[in-house]
């Protein structure tokens, strides 16, 4: 009896780590687009990058409950880090990713201390402020960043010394997809680890998390730093595959878009960012080809309808793709964003 329960426990805990068919299918389809959709590789590349960016936001929003309207700070820093590196002759893409991740992680670590306190609104505005200040900084330091004209003259070397970026965007897309996939696998592994579980517990109830002996602040700092590094990599991918960086990598709309993408796809199950990115970009592409002037209206209408129809119900259904995930994932139904009120008891 005892060992029976133990087996069940092990199985139940292990289930969270196992891949479901839906997930495998998702990535197989993604891989298939490399072969079957050669004309769409450019936008697919952008989708992969935004997906990764949204995934990084999901790490802090979905798994740690930190809302951010300034996530572009890390994206932009990563883009500039990779861009400036390549401009100065160090064109190895993977090295660029590493440097971008590091730079963004450092910024993430430093600024994480600003978002440990305060309500959601405060966090939104502090993160936003950080991104805006960084944007101004990039504008002022035009000797380094090219200012408002953008950073030009980026020439990328071949990936691993083998694959040169091509004009069809195929290599770029493959590169972004592989990087996104690898980082996704790591993120997926992290969220089912004891560490990931402790993050979810902090998001759900920081008061209890402390009472279980979890060093809440340290965990939050760690995940914020990690998410920053992810966002930095996403930015670096954009800089490397478009070989251009302009100030709008740091702009407010970047942060707002990624938030939209993530929320559309659903928060807290890692696929939300990816699915949201596909949905949002394809929609935008189709609509803006149809009516280049007024596509925003239709996007807006869809957002409104999506919310009225019950966004969470829709994404819940998608979540069922992942085994047992429905259970493990807090849908914040009828509950405002994870708030800090519990901590203020």
């Amino acid at each position: 009896m005892q060992s029976d329960t133990a087996d069940n426990v092990r199985a139940a805990l292990g289930r969270r780590g196992r891949w479901g068919w839906g997930e495998v299918a998702f990535w197989l389809v993604a891989a298939a687009t490399l072969v079957f959709l050669p004309e769409r590789h450019l936008i697919l590349n952008e989708i992969a990058i935004i997906g990764l960016f949204a995934l990084s936001l999901d790490l802090i929003l979905g798994y740690a409950g930190i809302v951010s309207l300034g996530h572009a700070a890390f994206f932009g820093l990563g883009a500039y880090a990779a861009g400036i590196l390549a401009k100065n002759g160090i064109g190895d893409p993977l090295l660029g990713l590493g440097v971008a991740a590091l730079a963004a992680a450092i910024l993430g670590f430093v600024t994480s201390f600003l978002v440990l306190r305060g309500s959601d609104l405060t966090k939104l505005m502090v993160t936003l402020g950080v991104a805006l200040v960084l944007g101004e900084l990039a504008n002022q330091m035009s000797w380094l960043t090219g200012g408002a004209d953008g950073l030009q003259g980026i020439t990328m070397g071949p990936i691993l010394g083998l694959f040169e970026f091509d004009i069809f965007g195929t290599v770029a897309y493959a590169y972004s997809l592989v990087v996104t996939f690898v980082l996704f696998v790591i993120a997926r592994r992290i969220v089912v680890s004891p560490y990931g579980l402790s993050l979810r517990s902090i998001r759900d109830n920081p008061l209890r998390a402390r009472a279980v002996g979890i060093p809440v602040n340290r965990r939050l700092v760690a995940v914020y730093t990690l998410a920053a590094a992810y966002a930095g990599v996403a930015g670096a991918l954009l800089a490397q595959t478009t070989q251009f960086v302009s100030l709008d990598v740091l702009a407010f709309h970047r942060s707002a878009d990624v938030m939209l993408v993530l929320v559309i796809g659903g928060v807290g199950y890692l696929y939300g960012g990816l699915i949201g990115a596909v949905f949002f970009k394809v929609l935008q592409d189709v609509l803006s080809a149809w009516t280049p002037q007024y596509w925003q209206f239709w996007i807006g209408l869809i957002l409104v309808l999506l919310v009225l129809a019950g966004r969470e119900r829709l994404t819940d259904r998608v979540r069922a793709l992942r085994p047992r995930s429905r259970r493990g994932l807090a849908t914040d139904k009828a509950r405002p964003l994870p708030t800090t009120t519990a901590r203020e008891v």
Binding site: L114, L121, G300
Partner: protein, 284 residues
């Protein structure tokens, strides 16, 4: 020097009128309405259309710049917003951003994407010297109008029955309902007034801030700054924050033009890190 102070106050007052509706919906009703700027834009366009197409005098357009957005606010509140009071903040953000997109595109479609001009009457143009300070007439006008509004709002919120009912409704809607207060009517009225004020602010501010379809997006950040820095527990908080922000912005650009844009954002971060509930919030 004093002229800078004066300009800063006028700018701050304007920000307050634009943002106070947001302070109410966000602070009191706990609803994140990013579409607030769209109501401000509506007010601005009402004034622009009335003046430029129908030759209505500037002052006469102002009441309409209040009423039209207020009515729009009321209708939207009754039909859409009220369904979302209990939803998560993320839903509210998604929804209201969707409204902004629609508003931007719709105005673009109806009015074109170019800047709208409002010709203020000649008696409001130019400057006079008061006590040795050069003051712009129009800015004085803004200060006067906004000042009256601030006093009136404060009065309504603290001294009238409506104000106490609103506060009761906000503190605990269930208890308020138990006391026989019609909470949904109170919320609807508050929302409408907030939207109307934004519209009025949009009309008054068109001259200084400009007016084009991207207005709601451009100024969203400013509104949010005012509300968060001011704290959301009272109306005086956002008011003082607006003034502070207005003066800091103008003075920052005057004295350290190369750092101009940093001033506001840095100020905001510092304030929020030191006082996460806002500068002027009561401790909860």
């Amino acid at each position: 020097m004093l002229t800078i102070l004066f300009d800063g106050i006028a700018y701050g007052m304007l920000l307050f009128v634009l943002a106070c509706g947001l302070a109410v919906t966000l602070g009191l009703m706990n609803f994140v309405n990013l579409a607030h700027g769209a109501f401000a834009m509506a007010g601005g366009y009402v004034t622009a259309v009335l003046m430029n197409r129908y030759g209505v005098p500037f002052l006469l357009t102002l009441p309409l710049a209040f009423l039209v957005p207020a009515l729009a606010g009321l209708v939207l509140e009754r039909t859409l917003y009220k369904q979302l009071y209990t939803r998560s903040h993320l839903d509210q953000v998604l929804f209201s951003i969707g409204l902004v997109f629609m508003a931007v595109a719709a105005v673009d479609y109806a009015m074109g994407s170019q800047q709208q001009m409002i010709r203020i009457p000649t008696w409001l143009q130019g400057r006079v010297e008061i006590l040795g300070i050069q003051v712009g007439l129009y800015r004085s006008f803004i200060i006067a109008v906004c000042g009256v509004l601030v006093v009136a709002l404060q009065f309504i919120l603290t001294k009238t029955r409506f104000g106490s009912r609103l506060r009761a409704a906000v503190d605990d809607p269930r208890v308020a309902r138990g006391l026989g207060i019609n909470v949904s009517v109170i919320f609807a009225a508050t929302f409408a007034v907030g939207s109307g004020l934004a519209g009025l602010g949009g009309a008054l501010g068109a001259e200084i801030l400009g007016l084009d379809p991207t207005f709601p997006l451009k100024f969203m950040i400013y509104f949010l700054i005012v509300v968060t820095v001011g704290g959301t527990t009272s109306i005086t908080g956002p008011f003082l924050a607006s003034l502070l922000l207005g003066i800091a912005d103008v003075a920052g650009k005057y004295y350290v033009p190369s750092l101009g844009a940093f001033v506001i954002y840095t100020l905001m971060i510092v304030v929020l890190v030191l006082r996460p509930q806002g500068l002027f919030a009561r401790a909860r």
